[in-house]
Amino acid sequence: MKKYLRLYSTEIVFILISLSFILLTSAEILRPMNITAIFLQNSYIFILVVGMAICMSVKDNIDISIGSFVCFICAMGGVFMSIMKINTLLSIILLLILGIMWGCLAGYIIAYFNIPAWVTTLGGYLAFRGLGVALIRQFSNTGSIVGINDSFLKLFSGKIFPSKIGSFGYASLIFCLVLASLGIIYKILSIRKEGSRITSSMVIGIAAAYLLSIWIGICFALTGGVPVSFIWMLIIVCTTAVWIDKTSEGRRLLMLGANLENARIAGVDTKRAVLMTYVFMSLCATVTGCIVLARFHASSSYAGVNFEMDTIAACAVGGVSLHGGKQKIFKAVLGAAMIGVINLGLSLLGVDMNWQWIIKGITILIAVTFDRYLKKDRFE
């Protein structure tokens, strides 16, 4: 039995976790508002997990500074927009530049000085939390900077195609269907291009994808619109998936795989590639910072707490290999969804916080062990 299931181990774990929370909450977790909540409340994991999967695609690389960096970006966003009165567009550009700068610095130290990734990013983890809190204390005596531009809030939080609660927002549903159709057309075109035929199993897959988007679309339509953070998540997940799957640059990055030395001998500029993964990771963290800033409507010193842990947990349950090599963005996103379901399920059950940590820890351990158990003989 086991050997038949191993290809789909992550999916099986996901279905099992979902099922157990559906039973525990007597299906409450499936209510449309809660389906929306999985995306709304965990958008940060979905975005960060993509960056982390790319980062981890090179052996021994990891970035634990992201939570603190999110806090720093929130603080800087507040300083730019509320204190220095810089307009929204310029603020976003400045924040992205900060992201690129940190990515370059961290990547440079790691790649060119051969400092272990976790030590370098541990430095960032400590420094950015301190820097973020110090900035907020400097410019405000209440622990948060308020007065973020409205246009910034609209760009990173709230809903598009807003509809009144209790009515059905057809626009949201149509929007989701259009997106799904575009995705499927893209998929079919790329299959055609490779010269393969469309098999019946592909048709079933397409049907499932369509059904999923109808479901999510209806949930959004019933709960007041499509969350903006969901759009950001889609943009980042999809562009990254296309980038690493279809472009030579992306494929080269993954080709480095588990053995940097081989890649280097084969003539790849491995150091530059490592640096690029950190720039990408930091950009993901910057977008997350913007989303968190807009979600709080203020820059707060509490932003980004434990984000790196949730992200690494999502990578672990999503089967992202810690030893580098080919990563499947889809599986990493599934891992993020798993952490999202666990977070929401425990919150709905009203479990005491300390027990939530315990249960979360145990669930992750079981999920990872089960996943590896199913896959085991592939490595033997």
Binding site: K3, Y4, L5, R6, L7, Y8, E11, I15, S18, I22, S26, A27, E28, L30, R31, P32, M33, N34, I35, A37, L40, Q41, Y44, T142, G143, S144, V146, L153, G158, I165, T199, S200, S201, I204, G205, A207, A208, L211, L212, W215, I218, C219, G224, V292, A294, R295, F296, H297, A298, S301, Y302, A303, V305, N306, N343, L344, S347, L348, G350, M353
Partner: protein
């Protein structure tokens, strides 16, 4: 291609797997959209969101509040956010998703509940801000707290009455220790006390020997006991080598503790009148030992009763009782507030007042 062949040999065929996934998806979707559970509209649900149950005050008060609301037939859900704002925002959203009819929120950080408050407004759910004012949003409907300005005036009035300042035959030396400059309420406490004592400061009956006569000069960052003690020691060393200090108005108990510790270390004269606030256990013991004179008692059961009452009134459709509609501006609007009345506690009434309200047991005070 090799991978594909392996799949065919050693694993479920993708087709079967995908069909299985499709079936699971259809099942989930069906349950999700069939509206599995409809809520009984006659039972009202109250959602309480608190910062953390590690903080004793919130742990005790939320449970008391829950019990009182349950007695009245409401269903109550409490969520503690473990001092994590993202978590609190998500929890408030989840309370709304669980069809809460009224939200009682104690924010971890006043200004940062952005999207959760937007969602409450979208669903037209009244939000009661409990003890800490939620700022930076128009979604907060009511605010219940203690009258913070009154805390200050009670301290001032106590000083005035005890020293009988209207008939004073000599002048008294007074010092102030105020609270955290980052805390919105600290200014109310300080100003309340100063406003009562102002005429006597002007007429010279009360004299601030150190000359530190503004909130900024008297402030104690984070209400920190050690910082209050340091400042008090500096003042004592510089100004009170040969004169006596008669009154020390400290805004709360942690700063009062700093002041009394400083006096114990570097002051030879008789203990001045020291004010405080909150009735922290160690300070109540100091009051009984004569190391502090008074503290202001903010009985949590009053605040809880006021909040429960407010919930009742919201559902009955009656106008909600508020007694302040101009003081508490949250950056967007003035929040209608119900301010509870604090009382003072000193050596004479301390044991009776604190034990009868159940705030402390008699054993704790011994």
């Amino acid at each position: 291609m090799i991978m594909n062949r392996c799949c065919k040999l050693n694993s479920i065929k993708p087709k079967i797997w995908k069909t299985f996934c499709l079936a699971v998806l259809i099942m989930f979707m069906f349950i999700s959209l069939s509206g599995c559970k409809t809520k009984d509209p006659s039972v009202k649900t109250i959602g309480i969101s608190a910062p953390s149950n590690d903080i004793q005050r919130w742990a005790v008060e939320t449970v008391l509040m829950r019990d009182k609301l349950r007695e009245k037939g409401y269903e109550v859900i409490i969520q503690y956010a473990s001092s994590d704002i993202s978590m609190q925002i998500s929890q408030i959203e989840n309370l709304i998703a669980k069809d809460a009819d009224v939200l009682i929120v104690i924010p971890i950080e006043s200004a940062s509940l952005g999207e959760a408050m937007d969602m409450a407004a979208e669903h037209e759910i009244p939000v009661i801000s409990y003890d800490m004012l939620i700022t930076n949003t128009d979604a907060v409907s009511y605010y219940t707290t203690f009258d913070n300005y009154r805390v200050g005036t009670i301290q001032g009035q106590y000083v005035k009455d005890k020293l009988d300042l209207d008939h004073a035959d000599r002048s008294y030396n007074i010092e102030f220790t105020a609270g955290d400059p980052g805390d919105n309420n600290a200014g109310f406490f300080y100003n309340g006390a100063v406003d009562v004592l102002k005429p006597y400061l002007d007429s010279g009956v009360l004299k601030i020997v150190s000359g530190q006569d503004s909130f900024g000069k008297c402030a104690t960052p984070s209400w920190n006991t050690e910082k209050a003690q340091q400042r008090a020691e500096n003042i004592l060393a510089s100004y009170y080598n040969d004169t006596a200090v008669d009154v020390w108005v400290a805004s709360n108990d942690t700063t009062a503790l700093g002041v009394s510790s400083a006096l114990a270390v570097s002051y030879k004269g008789s203990y001045p009148l020291i004010t405080g606030q909150d009735c922290t256990l160690i300070n109540v013991k100091n009051i009984l030992n004569g190391k502090q004179t008074m503290s202001v008692f903010k009985d949590p059961s009053l605040l809880i009763d006021a909040t429960v009452n407010m919930v009742d009134e919201i559902f009955s459709g009656k106008p909600v009782t508020v007694n302040d509609t101009k003081t508490y501006y949250n950056g967007v609007k003035i929040v209608p507030s119900y301010l509870c009345e604090p009382v003072y506690v000193d050596k004479d009434n301390c044991i009776e007042l604190l034990t009868s309200s159940g705030f402390y047991t008699i054993d704790q005070l011994q």
